[in-house]
Amino acid sequence: MSVKKFVVGCFDDEKVLFPAVTKVRKAGYKLQDVYTPFPVHGLDKAMGLRDTSLHTAGFIFGLIGTTTAVTFMSWVFTKDWPVNIGGKPHFALPAWIPITFELTVLCAAVGMVLTFCYICQLAPFIKKHHFHPRATDDLFVMVIECTSKTNEHELKNFLDAAGAIESNIQVVEDGWWIGRYDRDQQLYKEPIVA
């Protein structure tokens, strides 16, 4: 993790945010992220993010579940301990469908959630820098990383012109670390209604 300089612009309306994202990208600034209080449809496309392949991971985990269930049950009933249940066949595939299905769903769901937490660095006790406390309330917070060529004051004015209701420059640590929110994050005060 390294300390970097960011210019932060806060927007309170999607209608203003979308053209601003386009403008920032056209101007060639390095868009670090946009933090939103809810999923804004189309914003990922506007930011030029590629589609997630999380569902592929889910599919693979599901297949692992299916294979585990079928191979394990057939091994138990045909090789390890074949029990004669009323003369019924040992390899009773139809009777294994329920457990195979349940294990498929279980593996897919658990695997996907763990993958999601891993790639998004989500876990208890994880601490990240929050550029604005209202990013989870009602503001769309656009964060632009400053490179050696960036003139941050010019960029700040650029964001203001694009419709940001609030903008500032922050020098903060990027990424995540183990930490406590009550130590590093300021306690909330009611926003002043304009």
């Binding site: 939103t36 209080p37 809810f38 569902h55 769903v105 658990v110 998004c120 989870t136």
Partner: protein, 496 residues
Amino acid sequence: MSLTKYESQLREPLVDGKKTYHDVTVDIVHTIEAKPTRLWYIGFYVAVALLLFGVFSVYMEVVYGIGQWNVNRTIGWGWDITNFVWWVGIGHAGTLISAILLLFRQGWRTGVNRAAEAMTIFAVMCAGQFPIFHMGRVWMAFFTMPYPNTRGPLWPNFNSPLMWDVFAISTYFTVSLLFWYSGLIPDLATVRDRAKTKLRKYLYGIAAFGWTGSTKHWQRHESLSLVLAGLSTPLVLSVHTIVSFDFATSVVPGWHTTIFPPYFVAGAIFSGFAMVQTLMLIMRKVMGLQDYITLGHIEAMNKVIVLTGSIVGCAYLTELFMAWYSMVPYEQAAFFKFRIAGPYGWSYWLMMTCNVISPQLFWFRKLRRNIAFTFIMSIVVNIGMWFERFVIIVTSLYRDYLPSSWSPYYRPTIWEVGFYLGTFGLFFTCFFLFAKYFPVIAIAEIKAVLKTSGESYKDEMAPLEVMSTEKFAHEMLHHDEHHREGDVHVVHHDKH
């Protein structure tokens, strides 16, 4: 303004009152931040008292054995399995609302899905207690798990429906919990970022997993929710199907029918929605959430109740018809001598009245939108659905093949009743804690539909309603071209 985002004014707003995003946050989070009301404390203590009584009842059963219950050689499954099926059924509505209605793009689910999912988890927790303690030697419960053991290893019988149940219920619980919690993470972050005390900041900071609201994370979160919904949909159908297999794969007259899986699933959704109604009607009143759980939501759920109630009614009649049509004397005896008549006939007719006849009143729009009536009906339906399981279990078992093993009249003991009451205690203790410490409405999801289905947005639709079709089509076309130029897909509402 894209064509797909046009919302008819005939459709009721999903969120009443002209709310901003911040209003939504405040409305939902204030119940966590405020001190609990006196009503909350009373309810919570009653629930804890019931829970303690339940714990004592279970203690009696574990220490002195199953003989503490009045289940006997013929009626091996009495109140306990009735309660098990009843609680599992209740759980189904939560998954239906959160998963199936998500796939069907039903916007109204956002108001009720969080609480309904919580209800699912607590109901499944309650349900699980019954088969576990019905084992008698509950300390041997882990024998159902397939692990390499010193007995051979001797594996559980994977061909048994009771074994399928173990897998189905535990998978259902796990997946529901993951689905619920992954949806909660962003909302817990909202609570964290608003925390005014250090302790709250610390605890919600842990619970929110360090959620920031990054667009990439939201994109993955959406994908996760969609796939989990896609997985939960067949899962929820499979769970009650497997529960019905406990009965349907047996050779007991009255149980051995192929109609059981769809009939059980419809019944589960029916009773689950009734429980959601009971909880929501109280919750919206006590917590002042009338703007989010509107009459429109209540009406929508009542429509599901009348649909599933009618399916259940059809199934009851089909069973009777098939028993007569099959010409099997045992089947006919089970239904016509021991079920609709006989010493337990009253329970059959109580079930019929509560489940089939009374929900038909919901065909009237006035009654669907009447809160008091809905509340009474939700209780009636749940009583009816409990008796459905009681009828299926007890009336199929009390006359065995040999008259010598015919059962005396089955009445539960105080410890059987106590166990049931105890699960109510568990359920409501959990629900009260949930209502106090978690956002009971999915904040982020409400915000996502606010601009399309909120009341203020509906008003913006008024000029569109009077616009001519040609002009509307022209603007749509023009707007789409504009989109392609900018390489941005935006939903603008600024054309009018």
